[in-house]
Amino acid sequence: MLRSIQQTMSGALAAAALAVLTCGAAPARAQSTYNVSISLDYSGPFAAVMDSWYGGQQSVFDWWNETRGKTLGVKLNVKTYDMRYDASQVARTWPQILADDKPIVFLGMGTPDLVSLMKRLPGDKVPMVMGTAMVGPLWTANGWHFSFRPTYSQEFAGLFSYLQSRLPEKRALRVGTVSTQGIPGYVDQVNGVVKLAQTYPDRFVVAGSQWVDNTPINITSQVRELLGTKPDLILVGTNTAQVVATVKAVKELGAKVPVVTSSHNGLTEVAKAVPLSDLEGSYSVFGFAPSMDPSVTAAQIFEKYNKTKGTWGLTAAQTAAQALLATAAIERAVATVGAGKLTGQAVYDALEGPPFGAEHFQGLLKTVAFTKEAPFPTTDLSVKAVTVKDGKIVPVSNDWMPVPELQKW
């Protein structure tokens, strides 16, 4: 009892002292500070792009703190962790993040974050926002992980649909695939495209599939086999090494078949290993607007607020969109529970709420709507793509390309 009275008294004294100290300050709205923790990879396979990766996130959070956050009375304190793209590292760092940061949202990087945290997040009450595309096996209900991008296969389907509708004759688009057995995410990309062909047999055909080494040196014989099936394009959604090997093989065989890639193994990355002229007509497709799209105002935010050595490009655009989704959810949570009562649960509830309008995303995304059935939007999906034209990487279309509806496979 005595202790309780002492605690009450000391609390009151502290509050009074705080009031005395702040009464002379500017009449700015009191700010509540919350931590946002971020997974990065400075010592794993993505170390080389990490400056641009973090630059996209950091510039958005700095911009938000200076503009929206000030108005709302919320300051987001960003904490970064080098997770080395390693599930064990994520698993052993996570308890420390929970204890020290008490984050209201966690920005994941890739599969290691998903693998280590998917089953922990609901109990820990911290939502995780991802920036990468998802895969079919993660198409599960009631998760606390969210990505604004659907599965890779759905993103590819958006571009395939666009290209099929522009074929000179009325026929199905013939898709060849290059991937690797034994890596679940890679196999799933092909499975999703097979499902697409089964769903729309008059529009898409899987002409052939070749399974190659994860980081191949030469796949000319496999590509020769694939070209024998007369594909209109070759899908390589896996990694940069496979795209490079495919492009070299196509050139070696004297063929002119475009290669379709995603954002992580896209044209910009491949162009570091092969000349852009060899990529003429090839594509990268993803669920956000390309960095060079004139409607992307996030580029100005990056230019003004970026403190890293990174540069504005696809990587920074993707992570800026990730951070913008997190801040959109935080804004909605503030509107619901108030600036002083933000929690992971409040941010999760905000993510599960009504759709987020395109106005939140600085031109990078269309409307984003989550349901409990999937950790990514499943309705009204659309994508954008870039291609190489006259030796330059340019947007395929200024309009969003709708994704044909695809059931879970």
């Binding site: 400075y42 010592s43 170390a47 080389a48 792009v49 990490m50 400056d51 080098d82 080395r84 599930a87 064990s88 698993a91 052993r92 760092t93 308890p95 420390q96 204890a99 599969t111 998903l114 693998v115 280590s116 998917m118 089953k119 922990r120 109990g123 895969v135 079919g136 096996p137 993660l138 599960t140 057995q181 034994g182 890596i183 679940p184 995410g185 196999v187 799933d188 499975n191 050595k309």
Partner: protein
């Protein structure tokens, strides 16, 4: 070498793992320190200790196959994977208790290893190493092709809640004791195996398999046993890993992990289970120190990009391991033996 004045009355006494009072006291002190460790360490360091404990078990298994029996194995990570999937499936899909699932995970890996140990009857050295790589290649393909109700297929298997005897063991400190307990049991087995009849046969095969067969050793049987024993350790490590990470997919068990296990064993020394412990500790601490240094450098030198700094740290890591091997080609285990004997005969110099 023991201090002067210590005599044994029979061979059994000489074979004991702990032969003197101070040795027993030192072990008890070490166990007490390990038990008290979570009281002084933060959750990250406890997590690191859990990873070390799991890795020590896998590397100790490799020491049996490679160090004790002389059979080169580059597929240990696949056997860890078999254990991880088995434990996760038994626990999550069939409600089996944690420790039973871990035990059966070891057994499952052991049984799977028999298939890949058969070539050992006919071949050895680098040729055998190539066949063990087959385990690494076949493992993910088989798991993905099996019915998804067995091991989750490409989705993998998740574990919602980890409990032991009804008590949740999801905090790092609690799981630390599970990992520590299992590690102590497995290392006890490993140290005892080394001095057992089977262990002596393994060593005979390693030193000269033709000569040992002339002496009556059934080479095929014992080579399969060596693989089986090593894979049981891998399976147990995999089982613990599944409960620690709580989600298993095939791409967590790569050939690079197998190579790291072998690297840890070589750094620690092939000659005994202590090499597995010292090698795992040395490589893990070195990795941590270099990552720590890299992060400090990044903070201090913002003009350098993270990619550049961490490329340099990987080179430093490789150079440090090479330096350790040049300085002590027999491994840290050998260096430890030298230190011990120097201490025991002090102040006299070693011969």
């Amino acid at each position: 070498m023991l201090p002067s004045g210590i005599h044994f009355k029979d061979h059994a006494q000489e074979l004991r793992l702990l032969r003197t009072g101070p040795q027993r006291a030192a072990l008890l002190l070490l166990l007490a320190l390990l038990a008290l460790f979570p009281l002084v360490a933060n959750s990250y360091v406890i997590g690191l200790a859990i990873t070390v404990a799991i890795t020590v078990i896998a590397v100790a298994g490799l020491q049996i196959t490679v160090g004790m029996a002389g059979l080169l194995n580059l597929g240990q990570s696949a056997f860890v994977g078999v254990g991880a999937f088995t434990a996760a499936a038994l626990y999550a899909n069939h409600g089996m208790p944690l420790l039973a699932a871990v035990g059966l995970a070891g057994l499952a890996s052991g049984i799977v290893s028999i298939v890949f140990s058969l070539p050992a009857i006919r071949i050895r050295g680098l040729y055998l190493a190539l066949t063990t790589i087959a385990a690494q290649v076949v493992f993910p393909v088989v798991v993905l092709r099996l019915p998804p109700t067995w091991f989750g297929g490409s989705a993998g298997i998740g574990i919602d809640r980890v409990a032991l005897f009804g008590v949740a063991v999801e905090t790092p400190a609690r799981f630390y004791f599970v990992a520590l307990g299992v590690m102590v049991v497995m290392l006890t087995v490993a140290f005892n195996l080394q001095r057992s009849h089977v262990g002596l046969v393994f060593r005979a095969i390693r030193d000269n398999d033709i000569a040992s067969s002339v002496l009556g050793v059934q080479l095929g049987k014992y080579k399969i046993m060596a693989f089986f024993a090593g894979a049981v350790f891998a399976g147990v490590a995999g089982g613990l890993y599944a409960f620690y990470i709580r989600y298993v997919t095939t791409d967590q068990f790569t050939i690079w992990l197998s190579i790291w296990y072998l690297g840890m064993l070589i750094v620690g020394g092939l000659s005994g289970p202590l090499g597995a412990i010292l090698g795992t500790l040395a490589v893990t601490l070195l990795q941590e120190a270099i990552h720590w240094g890299g992060n400090r450098m990044m903070a201090a030198l913002p003009q350098l990009s993270g990619g550049v700094i961490f490329s340099v740290t990987n080179i430093v890591l490789g150079a440090a391991i090479i330096y350790m091997l040049i300085r002590e080609p027999h491994g840290l285990n050998h260096r430890w033996s030298i230190l011990k004997s120097a201490y025991r005969i002090w102040p006299y110099p070693r011969a």
